[in-house]
């Protein structure tokens, strides 16, 4: 059974400038032990979606519709104390910036112990042992010493390891990683991704990996969701998305990337800019930037169509299209 099931989730922000539909009708399932990659540009709603799952949506936003079933129970109905027993315990989160997500005035040992003792009835000594063990697990050298250090004594990559250790210390069912490597250098990114891959197997956790980097998605994910303007534009297995995409946005995005492995004469950018969520274009929100847009795209909002086993695309022409974005440029 799926550990997480999201049904028609809508998270809207009631701002002074108007209604922002940051997440607007999103449905998906996450299986145990799998990695779900969520890609999208800034403003596509990928971060708000993960915050919705944690029920950590900042004011003036709230979930206006939809259900989130975690382990069979709808957590949109859960109250704050129920959520607190889930957060950091059964669903935990790693954020982009390891500089700001640790408390600078406490030693990291204390912060890890706190994360354990909020949820489990264990002594300080036992919790500290757990902290040392998990720090070793994530590859912090001299873990026994390290627990007595403050966050500023660690480098960016090491801090991100501490964050991952903290997220994993209670052996969560789901780890949500929101751009976990964006602030890091590529060599350190490789270390962290390697670590996450190892831990996934060891702990059998499910991972939701949010990123704008299609390379990271290709490396890490089993399933992929492509988001644009608060909606799922395409959803499927990593092979579906990269080799048999049925969505013009997915393909345009892949085609616009400069590649490390392929020579390209000219890049093929997507024209225009991502739309403002307050004033979305009529019809398909991507139509002003889409090369294949026809009349119907300007008028009618598409639906998420099923185009294969577990493969869905949000496009009027999903049935007729197929793109191979993963091999873009390799043959020409």
């Amino acid at each position: 059974m799926a550990i997480l099931k999201v049904e028609n989730l809508k998270t809207h922000f009631f701002t002074e400038e108007g209604l922002v539909k940051a997440v607007d009708g999103v449905s998906f399932e996450l299986e145990r032990g799998k990695v779900l990659g969520i890609v999208g540009e800034s403003g596509s709603g990928k971060s708000v979606m993960s915050l919705s799952i944690m029920k950590l949506i900042p004011y003036p936003g709230r979930i206006v519709e939809g259900k989130i079933y975690f382990d069979g129970k709808d957590i949109t109905q859960a109250n704050e104390s129920e959520m607190q027993s889930i957060r950091g315990n059964r669903i935990s989160m790693v954020f982009q910036d390891p500089m700001t997500s640790l408390n600078p005035v406490f030693k990291i040992g204390f912060q890890l112990v706190e994360a354990v003792r909020v949820h489990k009835k264990v002594s300080k000594k036992e919790a500290l042992d757990m902290a040392v063990k998990i720090l070793k697990e994530v590859g912090i050298p001299d873990a026994e010493e390290a627990i007595n250090r403050y966050p500023h004594e660690f480098s960016g990559g090491m801090r991100q390891r501490v964050m991952i250790a903290m997220a994993l210390i209670n052996d969560p069912d789901i780890l949500i990683a929101d751009e976990p490597t964006t602030a890091l250098d590529v060599t350190v990114q490789a270390q962290i991704l390697d670590l996450m891959n190892r831990l996934k197997e060891e702990f059998n956790s499910s991972i939701i990996l949010i990123t704008h980097d299609l390379g990271v998605v290709a490396e890490m994910s089993d399933e992929v969701i492509v988001m644009y303007a608060g909606r799922i534009f395409e959803r499927g297995s990593v092979e579906d998305i990269f080799y048999k995409s049925r969505n013009p946005y997915t393909y345009s995005l892949m085609r616009s990337l400069p590649r490390l492995d392929v020579d390209q004469k000219r890049l093929q950018p997507i024209k225009g800019n991502p739309p403002s969520l307050i004033r979305l274009p009529q019809g398909c929100p991507f139509h002003p930037r889409c090369e294949l847009a026809k009349d119907i795209c300007k008028k009618k909002v598409p639906e998420l169509l099923k185009v294969g086993t577990n493969h869905y695309s949000y496009c009027h022409f999903a049935a007729e299209l197929e793109f191979n974005g993963g091999k873009v440029g390799t043959h020409s």
Partner: protein
Amino acid sequence: MEPILKVKNLKKYFPVKKKKLFERRKYLKAVDGVDLEVYPGETIGLVGESGCGKTTLGRTILKLYQPTEGSIIFDGKDIAKIRGKVLKDFRRQAQIIFQDPYASLNPRMKVKQIIEEPLIVHGYSRDEREKIVDEIMESVGLNPEHKFRYPHEFSGGQRQRISIGRTIALRPKLIVCDEPVSALDVSIQAQIINLLEELQDTYKLTYIFISHDLSVVRHISDRVAVMYLGRIVEIADKKEIYEKPHHPYTVALLSAIPIPDPEKERNRKRIILKGDLPSPINPPSGCRFHTRCYKAKERCAKEEPKLVEVSSGHSVACFYPENT
């Protein structure tokens, strides 16, 4: 062909604040002995991790920092020690594009004023300025009718266009592009990269393109220099460096970048480097990379390898290079 820019043994040290009164003053050696030649009309990519000195090198070349040691020959003249009017004249020929289009444009100035400012500094008349501003806006893909708008009315990509417009207003020969697309969305990056390429053709520009993104650098550069802790460890033609990297650091760096092709990604061998970049205040002895290198032997900790040419145009600083 004569190089437009020739950098020899360039060093830039920053003093570090003393912790005790009688302590010896320490220096952060951001750029520590760089030799580099840049030819007219080419794009040279400068890559490396944060803290490797690539930005400092770019800025020192433009004399935004006063070099600690070494010479910078631009167009046949040593500009390392120039000041005053000569420096101002140099500025007109060498410009910079910054990373963050949100921070590098004055929010209180209209687009016209932003693009016009370098022209005022260099004494263009009002009529000339009017003409140039319209022309520039057109060539960077902005509507000249929008010249009375403020930066906040534009998106990130458009702001970077404004910033590029300001840079090329004086028709410089050399432009240092310091991570010009890193702050932009994926779908916008390609627009700006294409624009930079078009402008290079139109105005015969020479670029020093600084980036940590090796995919972008591969696309835009003719030659690539890899930096590590203030030194260039490898420099070669683009094709050479991506297909036959010699320095273990270059090899590791290239292998660390995920490719958006799941099949290829699964079959790739990744070299995971241990640890982080060492401090440039106290760099390791011998080869600076030996503490993280998977090929390091005893000799690497004692002796410092020099940047030597191993094949035409391909130089590397390593005792035990790969792919040779």
